[in-house]
Amino acid sequence: MKRPCIQRDCYVSEDGICQMGEPNAEVCKFREEAIEADLEPEASPAVQWDRLHPPWTGRALSGSDVAPLVGHARPLLIGLLGSSDAGKTTYLMTSYLRLHQGCSVEAYRFAASYTLGGWENLADYGRFSPGQPPRFPPHTSSGLERTPGLLHLAFRLEKLESHDMAAQKATTVELLLADAPGEWFDQWAIASDASASAGARWIIRHTDGIMLFLDCDALAGSQRGGAVTKLIRLLDRLGPKVMERPVAAIWSKADRYPDIPNAIRVRIETALILRLPDRKEFFIRAGNPDPDPESDAPEGGVAASMAWLLDEIKLQTIRMAASPPFKSPDPFFAYRGRSTERAG
């Protein structure tokens, strides 16, 4: 098989995912170079048998990358849903910057990550460098992918045993966060069975918990009619699919929340109550800090929302009875163990 990319670990022809993060592999410069050089597989960089290579690169994972890394613990998958520019990627960036500062996610302390390269790439947008102020991460592009890039985090959870305050029981929680382009969910809301909705269906099928982003800036702006229509359409599609899974409804860019017209707010609240009655709502202003240093840290909602979702997913996992293995060609199912298929 002719490998069209000179990057040794890039199997773009097999799963459509460019390892360099290029959304459209056709224009990846490494692929272009390969085509120009007419490289045959034998000419690609030789495997170095005198070196051991860990099975991760630090870049975001795809579904098939996960199994060899986290076989000892079942990772939780959280899907970030919402329209384009609703703040999903900025939320992830802020989450990592907090961890980088040594802040825990409430009781969850950073313990490991196999996608530090992906996280550092995001963090770069939030850092000061000479001549470069922090800026919003770019739009997550749709590209050719059918599964989203997954960012990995492992946490150590320290909880005191209620019957013995002196004893601390530490457990590990492994987490995969799916940051998908907003267009996926806009499309999925319109036509859930369309081929263009495959990525969104994958997330909805596999996710253990959902973060739904409600963009206050869009809902208060001049195009708010379109924004609320899209949101309600998404809620209508999502509601029946959620089943028992916890949903954190995150009002992003919450400094604009007061500017949302009352009528719009009522329509949204009505839809939320109808479609996601068990949601918990959070308000965050990640990336646009409140100038008043005495107020609650604006990124506090970032930690609270993630911690709540992790707690809820763990509770839900305990409630669910053990089920027989579910056979599926999708390697991500290999350790899901669910007997009920959730339709995407």
Partner: protein, 280 residues
Amino acid sequence: MSKTVLVLGGPDTGKTHFTGQLYGRLMLTDSAIKLLSAPDDLGAIQQVLDSLGEGRAADHTPIAADHRMPWELRMPSGAEATIIWPDYGGEQLQGIFHSRSVPVSWVDRVRDSDCWLLFIRPLILRQFEDILTRRRGLVAASASELTPKIALKPWSDAAYYVELLQILLWTRHAEVPAQRRSPRLLVMLSCWDELSQKELPAEALRAVLPLFYEFLASNWDSSCCRIFGLSSLGKALSKTEPDQDFQDLGPDQQGYVVMPDGERSPDLTVPLAWLLEDQT
């Protein structure tokens, strides 16, 4: 008892000066650990000892250098121990990170080592300000940034150290994350004399590499991971201009370690004594 120490440290993190000064202390009778006898061949240490004796900094260890010196030691308990003390070019460790692979020559020593000694020099770490440390908002991305990046930017030093240890732990087939007791880990914050704020070593590490600090706390049992400060020479030395005071007093009288509780000691063998002591 025979133990293998894995010494980890990039270039310019102070490994070579510590090796020279440690050797000098091991030859003293009032150190916690003592050398039973001088090794047959001082080898690479000789150049370091000569330089320090003349009040000069030692030369940079060549990249390809890979020395292993067997030392026969008398431990504080009276027991005898043999350790293999390595010295190598710090670029080899960086090479593991950048190539994302572990050379076969390193695999055995990573797997067989009982304890790890990691040198980090706080002064050469890059410190970032970001939107959380400096309360400023984000601006819209410039037009050139609207397409996602192809090349990944260099990682922060904290992420670098986390990834490095993740790779080494994977090489040992160790579960990550997990609160481990083996290998015992000592983090040596070197060139302590360069630092202006005098806090506890653990606090100093937490201040410069918070993400890495959390990683250590989550992946090592607290009794098996210690953070020390180190100033092998007590001051900066030039490679070319001899320091007269240093010459006159002699290397044995220079340098100190900072214990985890903040106490200073001139006995540079104390960290090694903790690293090598039998776990109960």
